[in-house]
Amino acid sequence: MQSWLNQPLTWGSALVLFLWALVFLFIVLGFVTYAIYFERKVIGWMQLRIGPNRVGPFGMLQTVADIFKLLIKEDTIPRKADRALFILAPVLAYIPAFSVLAVLPYTQNLYFADLNVGLLYYVALSGISTLAIVLGGWASNNKYALLGGMRSAAQMISYEVPLVISVVGVILLSGSLNLRDIVAAQSGGWFWDWNFIPQIIGFIIFIIAAVSELNRTPFDLPEAESELVAGYHVEYSGFRFAFFMLSEYVYVYAIAALTTVLFLGGWHAPAPFLAFVPGIIWFLLKFAFIVFFLFWIRATLPRIRVDQLMGLGWKVLLPLSLLNVFLTAIYLELFIKN
């Protein structure tokens, strides 16, 4: 990858790049398809159900069937909706979700873009999806949708602040915003060199905030079906609805990969004697664990109340994340510098 990026850009290489990205797109789509399947399966098992088991072997084609269903389903746009914005919203939700994947590294050599400001890029682009949700809620011209959209916006911006500040500790330790450098800074050989132990506060805050950013249980208030029917996408049907879903799961992918990179040492082995296993395997293992963890808490935890949600974000996570930053900084000042 690196060698390509260092070559002068020609139309040919641009085309190759494009094709690679296309391949990657299908990988991601495949991930989403089977992530949904596994989510249903896992939750089913945890709740002593079986989960999807009819379509294909072990129900493995269930999601595929769902996608086809959505694709050929009639797509209604409410008469009172703001048509242009209504159409734009799901697209806008999806674009940043996919774009952030560009900067995620998988191994030392397997990555797409190697930006010096990778983390900032991720943070900046992921913020846009809030807009899409508000837009969707507003354009539907529906009370549930609007309230869901507003709630979602409030929640996402409230948790974005601790999320963003919690990674400052990681940046302090590595002195870079480049995700590859951040992984490189965790290469002590042992798992306690990974950021999640020195940055335990940051890590916890990051996980909580990330779950909230994903609008997943226990923070799924925007689409709380028992209160708001389906929240901001109540009016969406067919493939437009699918894009909201798709972007949510792409974000699951992104967050899982990002957590791996930032806190779990990326492709590094947990112990020196395990280093013979290829980095990509380690990465995928950690990645898979995070994804599983997200499903797990969905099955386990109830949805929390809106005032608790806000209170947690502003009164607990934000001060804590700042505390984490300064603890890290002081630690660096006392022990590492000079």
Binding site: L5, N6, P8, A14, F18, A21, L25, L71, I72, E74, D75, T76, I77, P78, R79, K80, A81, V91, I95, A97, F98, S99, L101, A102, A113, L115, Y121, S140, N141, N142, K143, Y144, A145, L146, M150, A153, A154, I157, V161, I165, V168, I171, L172, G175, E235, F239, R240, F243, D307, M310, G311, W314, K315, P319, L322, V325, F326, A329, L332, E333
Partner: protein
Amino acid sequence: MENYANNYVVVAVFIVLGILLPVVALTVGRLLRPNKPNALKQTTYESGNEPVGEGQVRFNIRYYLFALMFVIFDVETVFLYPWAVAYNKLGLFVLVEMLIFAGMLLIGLLYAWKKKVLKWNSV
């Protein structure tokens, strides 16, 4: 890396793909799916009843207050990031400076807390 800009080409490719997929998918979908709209289908959903009043109702002003808080604290990170990146190269003084800076913001947070901005009454 003499061709650093190439990384942004990659980013651009991703963004283009991000746009292309919905466009293609929705276009394909349009060809596949039926389209038989009628007035009943196109009404706004309100738990099966006829929709009452405006859809775009006024919502609680608290949302704005949170938006304000967000703007302030999000911008704080604009300063935190470069500070964090350069921290190792700079002296103790920057730590003090950032402590003051963050301290001010925390006072702001405390202020908001005391003024009951963070209290969420039901929506």
